[in-house]
Symmetry: C2
Subunit: 96 residues, 2 copies
Amino acid sequence: MLRVLTEQERAEALARLPGWTYEPTRDAITKSFRFTDFVEAWGFMSRVAILAEKADHHPEWFNVYNRVDVLLTTHDCTGLSARDVALAQAMEAVAG
Amino acid sequence: MLRVLTEQERAEALARLPGWTYEPTRDAITKSFRFTDFVEAWGFMSRVAILAEKADHHPEWFNVYNRVDVLLTTHDCTGLSARDVALAQAMEAVAG
């Protein structure tokens, strides 16, 4: 059942994901999160890491100090899938 | 006492840091670590995160699944300092 989202599915998903941007070259979605400091950024990443491992779906992410840049795409279907939308929603919930 | 390393100091430090590469455009050192899986990569990052926060010196790092790409430079002196060498040595000790 793992498949790339249609353009309409993607648009509907992005409409419910504030601050997320579509990255067409990777068929991915990205967001740059900012926190108060490293401890806050790391707390976010740690909670997301456990959720990602549980779901067996891992982000591409870059961190420096209070900044966490995330890119989500699904390697198994080479594009954006429902798994990415679910992980983005989980990140929004964690970031509060 | 925070200052950019001389070319000789840098060369001596790199000689004791296997797998680390000098990045001249940033006056930084970089390494790409590979682990068995995400849990192992995350374990490495978690241990380093605590050491980095204790030292108040944070890496720039990118993770996807079992890969952790690290770039170390010191923003306070805009270049490579002894702090980066110390953090790289700590990462080597953690990575085993």
